[in-house]
Symmetry: none
Subunit: 246 residues, 2 copies
Amino acid sequence: MMNNLLDNISIILVDTKTPANIGSVSRCMMNMGLARLLLVDPPADRDREAIRLAAGAQDILNKAAVFSTLREAVADHGLVIGTSRHAGKQRKNIRTPREMAEAVIPVLGKNRVAIVFGNEVNGLENQDIALCNELISIPSSDAFPSLNLSHAVMIVAYELFIASGNAAPSSGIELANAGEVEDFYRHLQETLLVIGFLDRENQERMMFSLRQVFGRARLDIRGVRILRGILTAVEREISGGKENPE
Amino acid sequence: MMNNLLDNISIILVDTKTPANIGSVSRCMMNMGLARLLLVDPPADRDREAIRLAAGAQDILNKAAVFSTLREAVADHGLVIGTSRHAGKQRKNIRTPREMAEAVIPVLGKNRVAIVFGNEVNGLENQDIALCNELISIPSSDAFPSLNLSHAVMIVAYELFIASGNAAPSSGIELANAGEVEDFYRHLQETLLVIGFLDRENQERMMFSLRQVFGRARLDIRGVRILRGILTAVEREISGGKENPE
């Protein structure tokens, strides 16, 4: 079954306020052949309304794994895609769900892919967006662009389901998982502080921009190894240069 | 504005049981630029939950026209499209929402088109299907094909919105041109030689790998500027370290 590919998709809901929405999302997922639901900091109670709205998908609701931070939730995913509610001018390189789905299906053979949805009021916070390799935004009317959370999930799940039917067998590059990529960013940040490219005060904004640059690259394991090798070479050269004077 | 085309679409809900679903449908419609909602034999009460779920689309809910039969509701429509919940083998010639949307948009200039949704439990009755020119069925998983009514409307409305050409093209990032990218690779290669990451003899293979890493990133102008800024900072730091001994 081609649909097994979709087993490597995780839907991640961050800081959802209304339990009913989590139930509705479970149903949408099952309608579209998705199974793995991860919840970050969800409401304590999965109330009767959530269970009612899950309808035949209560199994997805019951098995949903709970995390306290998005960083933990995405750790074993090779690709993390955030949903942005407003395609703001400052946010470049936002794709549509359809473009995303077509690009993601070939990657699923060897990688877990997370699609992340923020809360009902504000969407994703900047600190969560920073953890995403790329962003998508659902096309909608300027007059009232704000979709209900479960409807947003439905559109994304539907596009993935449609795209999975046409999937060519995966041509598999093996993406680095989010934990390895975070280690790279940490290493990069340290090195950039050492060489004076980053100010201690104002480093977050530049790191955000660098995450956008490298996020788009969909780093694979070998790419991460090469880039970290460069950082290590820079550090060695600089500490060597400082030892020489002695 | 293209959106006027979508004004010729009517969403018709037949025999809906739950007022809340009518509210949710109103919101979906407004999200996707649709405005005309017709209700056949709806529940007497549009309750508080319906109004709450309509969110910013209460105007659509309030203006919804009510009919006692589908025959009356579709009377002034040139094309009537029914939604079938199960693409049963006996029902031939059922299209997908995407195929339907592409076929319907060119017709909208001079015709009203109705999309008809049955009730939550049974979908459309045969006598209603008989009034439809054609049928569509939403692709969904065999394991649990039954969509919530508002989610079914959302998918159809979304496909119409996309097909209408209203969706803004996905936000264009301005890619760096090949000359700028080549300048970056040259700068990178020089720096990597200086720090001893590259051997003079065997540099081409590593540069090829690095081109793969950064090539996937589809570098934009700002990204190139940042990366070259880092290279310059590395060079400055190293030459600083080497000048100190003097």
